[in-house]
């Protein structure tokens, strides 16, 4: 993906407009591009009116769960009895996803603006931007932007000259996928191991430091300023015939495709157009075999399903998968599905926090069975064993990490069973050494 970003005519650039534009990273550059006007407007509005506007816009969580943002904010107590917190989830670690990284790197003030508006709406004086430890460049850019925002009076004890206090800090993670799960993220900020918490209580009741807390994804928060400045009706109009999925969405496309990168399109955009048109299609001489449209935790689609899929929350559900984080992994006919599914299972085994037995044992067991098959030592009954294991890993744990490991395994076996059988029957030579 080259910079500066030259959008494809079919893209609708809202969040990605200034990707690659270094001047937009500075406070002055951001002001020149119309920045902080939405925050100014929001601070003069009624808190309830901001929440209603965001609710009305239909903005849903961009981190994976797709929960309506305004509804989430509305869960926060209206009459605080102590501090409220906002956490910005910038622990982007879902394989296939790299959109938040671009927002952090190129438009840090867009994120600061969105966070500040949200903080005002939910009465949170403090916001922690939790950035994964590996995003060294993004952390540096974000910290410089925050220092500038304090210096120029956007943040601090007299935010935007209103006499209101708005504080914002970067909290650097230290290498743990699970800290992207909202309750694990809160534990990590509190100086604990990143183990997810049992819900309820939900964060809006008892969250960070035991106080009411809202956790939103980077892309969700960055969208808020646009809704405040241009209104919910305008935002709602950014949808291809589905009022339940509105606005634009950043899709990170990676894998075996000609032009991987971030593309911003209106909700409901056809997945096949994203791959064949915006991304320039498959590599020469290759054909599409499979696609994982929402980050590695969602079910794999075969070619027919991929070509029928509309990219919004409901469109993905219709073909049996999920929109997730919008990390689109494209695989062509040269990809070894068994190997790639093993690699994903290995990822989840590595990242399991090990609290729940089904996950701690299940992810490792799944990986070992898949390695056995790849080593040519699998048996037909291993496929049933994998499916049975997956069943015990779905919906039975504190957080959805185990489900995420099961999703590619189940969809992989159901849709590409022949590839597994070829290893088992010895029709395909082993790709891993026997263990």
């Amino acid at each position: 993906m080259g910079y500066p970003h030259k959008p494809h005519p079919k893209e609708t650039v809202l969040l990605s407009e200034y990707f690659g534009d270094a001047e937009a990273r500075t406070y002055d550059g951001w002001i020149k591009r119309g920045g902080y006007k939405a925050l100014e407007k929001a601070l003069s509005m009624d808190r309830a009116a901001i929440i209603d506007e965001v609710k009305e816009s239909g903005l849903r969580g961009r981190g994976g769960a797709g929960f309506p943002a305004g509804v989430k904010w509305n869960f926060m107590p209206k009459e605080p009895t102590g501090p409220h917190y906002l956490c910005c989830n910038a622990d982007e670690s879902e394989p296939g996803t790299f959109k938040d990284r671009e927002i952090l790197r190129w438009t840090p003030h867009a994120l600061i603006e969105g966070c500040a508006i949200t903080q005002y709406a939910i009465q949170a004086e403090v916001c922690y931007i939790y950035i994964r430890g590996e995003f060294t460049e993004a952390i540096g850019v974000m910290e410089r932007a925050l220092a500038e925002a304090y210096e120029r009076g956007v943040l601090g004890g007299n935010a935007m000259g209103t006499g209101k206090r708005i504080d914002m800090y970067v909290h650097r993670g230290a290498g743990a996928y699970i800290c992207g799960e909202e309750t694990a993220l809160m534990n990590s900020i509190e100086g604990k191991r990143g183990n997810p918490r049992i819900k309820p209580p939900f964060p809006a009741a008892r969250g960070l430091f035991g106080r009411p807390t809202t956790i939103n994804n980077v892309e969700t928060l960055a969208s808020v300023a646009h809704i405040i400045s241009r209104g919910s009706q305008w935002y709602k109009s950014l949808s291809l015939n589905n009022p339940r999925s509105t606005g634009t969405k950043l899709f990170s496309v990676c894998g075996q495709v000609k032009k991987p990168g971030n593309y911003e399109v209106v909700m409901g955009f056809p997945l096949k157009d994203l791959i064949y048109d915006l991304c320039g299609g498959m590599n020469d001489g290759r054909t599409l075999k499979a696609c994982i449209p929402g980050g590695s935790s969602v079910p794999i689609l075969n070619r027919e399903e991929t070509e029928a899929c509309l990219l919004d929350y409901e469109g993905c559900q219709e073909v049996g998968t999920m929109l997730g984080s919008g990390g689109v992994i494209v695989l062509d006919d040269s990809a070894d599905m068994v190997y790639q599914i093993m690699r994903l299972a290995h990822f989840y085994a590595h990242e399991s926090c090990a609290q729940c037995t089904q996950c701690r044992e299940g992810t490792g067991w799944t990986t070992r069975i898949l390695r056995r098959i790849l080593a040519g030592e699998g048996e037909m009954k291993d496929l049933d064993l994998l499916l049975d294991l997956a069943d015990h890993m779905t919906g039975r744990t504190i957080c959805p990490l185990a489900d995420s490991c099961a999703a590619p395994v189940v969809s992989g076996i159901n849709k590409f069973r022949g590839e597994f059988e070829a290893y088992i029957k010895g029709e395909k030579p082993a790709t891993l050494a026997a263990v």
Partner: protein, 177 residues
């Protein structure tokens, strides 16, 4: 522990003949005191404190864990529990340059394993996690670095490198002599 006070070697499996050099004195102490202002309690400063310590010492020894525990009013065992949870804190000394290559599926399918081999070969590390005989490099495979559209992403120390190919490895390493 008071900044600047004479220190007895702290507990841990460190070499008892060497005096432990504390992290949180002078500027580093000031840095930590600034971090405290961001949080309602000291425990929340644990991850930032460990980052400061690793930045100073290159890794987190048991003695460092004991110092961090003391500074934050925690126990050393608790600190160890947290250090071992997160993959980015080094529990052992590593090479002067720490190289992390992403090999999760999207990178894997585009040839990341070849990039890992190239790093192992050109650094002389030989195997994953081992440090090269000259002490310069340690190479590890890492799970998703969150830059899947820029295969293969590689993190060298604090520098993020996009789109690393097998051919680019020697030239990249030349910048980390």
């Amino acid at each position: 522990m008071q900044a600047g006070a004479a220190k007895e070697p702290l507990t841990g499996n460190m070499d008892q003949t060497t005096q432990y050099k504390p992290v949180f004195v002078g500027e580093r102490r000031q840095q930590l005191d600034d971090v405290f202002k961001h949080y309602p309690n000291k425990q929340a400063a644990l991850l930032p404190a460990l980052w400061i310590a690793q930045d100073e010492q290159g890794w987190i020894s048991e003695a460092t864990m004991a110092e961090v525990a003391e500074v934050l009013d925690l126990t050393a065992a608790y600190v160890k529990g947290v250090v071992t949870f997160y993959t980015m804190y080094h529990e052992h000394p590593v090479g002067e340059h720490f190289i992390q290559v992403c090999t999760t599926s999207p990178c894997n399918v585009c040839g990341a394993e070849g990039v890992v081999e190239a790093f192992l070969k050109h650094t002389g590390c030989g195997e994953l996690g081992a440090t090269s005989p000259d002490g310069k490099y340690t190479v590890i495979e890492v799970e998703c670095l969150g830059a899947c559209g820029f295969v293969t992403p590689v993190l060298i120390d604090n520098d993020f490198h996009d789109s690393v190919t097998v051919e680019k490895v020697p030239e990249l390493l030349a910048r980390y002599r």
